[in-house]
């Protein structure tokens, strides 16, 4: 197991009160697995990723990475934020090399890695541009390249496609799978979009509304590339929709 969560609970202190966000979560993620987490807003999806990354601490329970308790961020765990969090003051090149620079890598290595990921993510032409000069899709790819550049074992992605036009989104999903194929890497991806999760994941973790608990874990064993219009795809989709959209839904029950 690459990552294990054991009875993880997380509470935030807000407005003088402790608010439980995640309660008693247990799960594990295998090496080279592609895991998606779906759930309504506020169910704690981002919080899970941050705890795995070591940016947030757990309130109780343990998270292990390769059997070790997580003490903080490490270079083996890459993180791609929803808003990309590209440094606007650095060019694409410097953004991608930021992690290697921090590690005082030599220039040969930097050059090699840069070329490798510029090529993999088709960013050669953008190398000297600033983030503000990039389209949404390119920003996305730079953020991924920046995380991959350190050759992490695990890549955590928080709604990487949420800000994108759905037409563009499909193209980038395909691209992501290509990277996943090319690199020996485990993906944990948070999304709102069930179809996206089915298209990408080996397993889908469905959270309940706040405080987040695991509603169900669904394994998707369809061969890739998956066809959104295939019978099997639709079946999985219907199963999840049934799970989260009770049929007796009434408008008046909701404000």
């Amino acid at each position: 197991m690459l990552v294990t969560l054991e009875n993880v609970t997380k509470a935030y202190h807000a407005g003088g009160q402790n608010v439980e966000v995640l309660s008693n979560l247990s799960m594990s993620i295998q090496e080279k697995e592609f895991v998606c987490i779906v759930g309504p807003s506020g169910s704690g999806k981002s919080t899970i990723l941050k705890m795995i990354a070591g940016i947030e601490e757990t309130t109780s329970g343990n998270i292990r990475f390769e059997g070790q308790k997580i003490a903080g961020p490490s270079l083996e765990k890459g993180f791609v934020f929803q808003d990309y969090a590209l440094f606007p003051w650095l060019t694409v090149r410097k953004n991608i090399l930021f992690g290697l620079e921090m590690a005082n890598a030599n220039s040969v290595l930097k050059k090699k890695r840069l070329e490798e990921y510029l090529d993999l993510l088709d960013l050669e032409k953008a190398v000297d541009l600033y983030p503000s000069q990039l389209s949404g899709g390119m920003k996305q790819r730079v953020a991924i390249a920046r995380a991959l550049c350190l050759k992490p074992k695990l890549l955590l992605m928080d709604e990487p496609f949420a800000a994108l036009d759905p037409f563009l989104r499909q193209k980038l999903q395909l691209e992501l799978l290509r990277i996943w194929n090319a690199e020996n890497i485990t993906f944990v991806l948070v999304t709102h979009d069930i179809e996206e999760a089915i298209y990408l994941a080996d397993r889908i973790i469905v959270l309940t509304p706040s405080p987040g608990k695991i509603n169900e874990i669904i394994s998707v064993s369809l061969p890739r590339p998956r066809l959104r219009t295939s019978q099997e795809f639709i079946q999985v989709r219907n199963k999840i929709l049934d799970l989260i959209t009770p049929l007796n839904l009434l408008v008046s029950s909701y404000i």
Binding site: K50, I55, L75, F79, F81, D83, A85, A103
Partner: protein
């Protein structure tokens, strides 16, 4: 080709702007001229103003006097010194108070806030007592003018650095000390420049105040001196010279900003 066409269009638009602006100034001068000529005294006593033609004539003569430039240079140096001191103290202090959550920084901030609403001119007696040279007490006033906007803007900006920048830098192996240089400083730079341009304006306001009260040279001193002599031509020239200098400084800061902050 497209780029060229765009540039030409932009130039044309700019030319249009300059034309309107120049016309605007000319209209102002004409209105002023006629108000004086007609000795209009209602609603305001415009008739008492000197004629614009006289002011411009004297100004034109001034442009060939070394003393005029000596005064400008003296004031400029004082503003420069104040602004440099303002940056050197305001930026680290702003970073520190913005980032730290300690009682000490809160206490320091409270004390600084006590001094912020005090007009520059009111610092004069204290400045003269505290400093052992005249020059340093004048520079103290220009410094105070520059300090608060730079400090407040830096502090403000650093509080608003998106936490995702910091989180991502942690994940990329950037420790807390290095993040000051690599994350916080570049992230606050744009707003720091805003503070700087407000600060340099305030610094100009301060130098005039300081020089008017206590100078031997400088454009503020010259303006005040003209007032003492009841020379309204020179007073008005001084007024606009100061305005132009303040304006130019801000424009300069803005171009430095554009040069440094390439990423916008």
């Amino acid at each position: 080709m497209v780029a060229l066409t765009k540039r030409i269009t932009a130039l044309k638009q700019n030319a249009g702007h300059y034309l309107v602006r120049s016309l605007a100034v000319i209209v102002l001068l004409l209105v002023w001229h006629f108000l004086v000529i007609k000795n209009t005294n209602w609603p305001l006593q415009f008739g008492n103003l000197p004629q614009p033609i006289d002011v411009l004539t004297v100004w034109y003569q001034k442009l060939f006097e070394a003393a005029y430039y000596r005064d400008i240079a003296a004031s400029t140096l004082r503003v420069l010194a104040g602004v440099v001191l303002g940056i050197v103290s305001g930026v680290p202090l702003g970073l520190w108070i913005g980032l730290s959550r300690t009682k000490i920084s809160e206490a320091l901030f409270t004390n600084l806030e006590l001094f912020r609403p005090i007009p520059l001119i009111a610092y004069l007696p204290i400045a003269m007592i505290l400093f052992s040279t005249i020059e340093s007490s004048i520079i103290f006033i220009t410094f105070i003018g520059a300090f608060f906007p730079i400090f407040i803007n830096t502090m403000d900006a650093v509080k608003r650095v998106p936490s995702s920048f910091v989180d991502v830098s942690k994940c990329l192996g950037c420790g807390p000390i290095r993040s000051i240089w690599r994350i916080y400083l570049p992230a606050v730079l744009p707003q720091m420049f805003t503070g700087l341009s407000v600060g340099i304006g305030a610094s100009w306001m301060g130098v005039i105040t300081a020089e008017m009260m206590s100078g031997q040279k400088g454009i503020g001193y010259a303006t005040w001196y003209a007032y003492n002599l009841m020379d309204y031509n020179l007073s008005i020239i001084g007024m606009f010279t100061i305005g132009i200098l303040g304006f130019t400084s801000v424009v300069l800061i803005r171009s430095i900003e554009r040069y440094i902050i390439k990423w916008k």
